[in-house]
């Protein structure tokens, strides 16, 4: 794992810190322990994959880190700021400018064109319309959709929609990209392309990528992989250990 650029400042080194996070869902009398105490530090610029079988709590953890849901106990810090302390305006700011979200179901707004989807976060951030359009076109260019900017989502394939989502996630130059099963609804080849694109753009822009997935293709590009199981961290592997794991998977399949 390459050391983060500002490792000398311990305070700023970790863009995300998860401390003792648990989450209990109550369904009537039933209680589901989705997360049972997660501790995690994520360095700036890191490409981190959260791996685990379906139902292991990946999305729940993702929602906690993204400030989309609140932990039952424990804390999540973004840039050493406890996000439970934020008011509605600060949370919206965080979601708008600090974090870019990528979803399994793409979540491109169906009534807007590709370009309008990409410019929306910039409009929310208060950028003027012309500048937003310029930047939006540039971003679509970078994800390989320069000629598709006026297409509606219904006129785009799944892979193209996910490219729009990546451009949209990068709109306000976030520090973190959160992706929940970004390849979950894509075929193998398209999934591979999306992973490579995400890897390339995040490296160019030094964006921290946190991706929940059970797609082993993600292993190749990850700096670190957190394996979770039943709401607990099973083990954390970095690059060197990973190559062994990949080898093992490679021989198995």
């Amino acid at each position: 794992m390459s050391p983060p650029p500002d490792a000398a400042v311990p305070d700023a080194a970790h863009v995300v810190r998860v401390s003792g996070v648990t989450k209990v869902f109550r369904l009537g009398k039933m209680e589901v322990q989705a997360l049972q105490g997660i501790d995690l530090r994520i360095a700036r610029g890191e490409y981190l994959s959260i791996m685990g079988p379906s139902g292991s709590g990946k999305s729940t953890l993702f929602n906690m880190i993204g400030g989309l849901d609140k932990p039952t106990t424990g804390k999540v810090f973004i840039d050493e700021v406890d996000i439970a302390q934020l008011d509605a305006y600060e949370l919206a700011w965080l979601r708008c400018r600090k974090i870019g979200y990528i979803f399994q179901t793409f979540n491109i707004i169906p009534v807007m064109t590709a370009l309008e989807n990409v410019t929306l976060p910039m409009i929310f951030a208060g950028m003027n319309a012309d500048a937003a359009v310029q930047k939006g076109l540039r971003l679509l260019e970078q994800v390989g959709l320069g000629d598709r900017h006026s297409h509606k989502p219904s006129e785009l394939s799944g892979g193209q929609q996910q490219r729009v989502a990546i451009a949209r996630a990068l709109a306000n130059d976030p520090a973190i990209i959160l992706a929940d099963e970004p390849t979950g609804n894509l075929d193998l080849t398209t999934g591979e392309e999306i992973i490579q694109l995400l890897k390339r753009l995040s490296a160019e822009r030094r964006v921290t990528v946190i991706s929940a997935t059970h797609d082993f293709k993600m292993l190749n590009v990850s700096d670190r992989v957190v394996w979770i199981r039943d709401g607990r961290i099973d083990r954390i592997e970095d690059r060197e250990q990973l190559s062994i794991t990949i080898g093992r998977i490679g021989t198995r399949s």
Partner: protein, 231 residues
């Protein structure tokens, strides 16, 4: 309060800002586009309003026409008005606004409001993922609230104005058929204008009333809904 704590912690570098409120014009633009791309659905929601408002306006302008004829002082109109079913007290300068007519009107407006409420609730449910996604992109609750209110106001304005106009034209046509040109020539313009304005105003108000609860539901929605993968 919390913000100051971090500023202290991290020197003067403020790490979390506050989201800006979207300018009103921008919200109007987004609401307008949202309506336009959902043209058919918007049209159907608006149509129930057009019906109710035109019914209201038809009645109100019809009464104005009858008032005008009565005020003309010509006895043959009084006879024909009574034969046409208008209630007229002896020596009264205006025709009677019957309680029954009023109830039918109130009921039709009520039905219309419930219809709008229903249509808007469905629209919110349909757009749950879209709203959730917008919140993930930095939309404030008040933006979502404003978006739905603006959409309703635009539909309400178009529906009420056209409903009022349609109702008035129908009333004029009916008056013309029954009483000839006199229906138009004796029409008290100020009263008719007032009828039109109040029909349109009531329509707009009902349209907003019907969207209040759905808009509140939409604004309160948690962004985590955007993540749900339905199976």
């Amino acid at each position: 309060m919390a913000t100051q704590a971090w500023s202290a912690l991290s020197g003067n570098r403020r790490r979390i800002g506050r989201q800006v409120v979207l300018p009103f014009g921008k919200s109007v633009e987004i609401a307008y586009r949202s309506l336009r791309v959902r043209f058919l659905r918007s049209l159907i929601t608006t149509l129930s309003l057009v019906l109710a408002v035109s019914f209201f306006s038809y009645n109100a302008v019809g009464n104005d026409i009858a008032d005008g004829l009565l005020a003309s002082g010509r006895p043959e109109f009084r006879q024909r008005l009574i034969r046409a079913g208008y209630e007229i007290q002896a020596d009264a300068p205006r025709i009677e606004r019957g309680a029954k007519q009023r109830w039918v009107l109130i009921l039709s407006l009520l039905v219309c409001t419930v219809g709008i409420l229903n249509a808007q609730l469905m629209a919110v449910t349909e757009r749950f993922r879209e709203i959730g996604t917008m919140k993930c992109l930095g939309a404030l609750d008040r933006f979502v609230l404003r978006l739905f209110l603006l959409e309703a106001a635009m539909m309400g304005l178009v529906g009420s104005v056209s409903g009022a106009a349609i109702g008035a034209l129908l009333a004029l046509a009916a008056g013309f058929l029954r009483f000839g040109v006199a229906a138009v020539t004796f029409l008290p313009l100020a009263a008719a204008a007032l009828s039109l304005i109040s029909a349109a105003g009531i329509g707009l108000a009902l349209s907003l009333l019907g969207v209040l609860y759905p808009a509140w539901v939409a604004a309160r929605m948690q962004p985590v809904e955007a993540m749900r993968v339905e199976t």
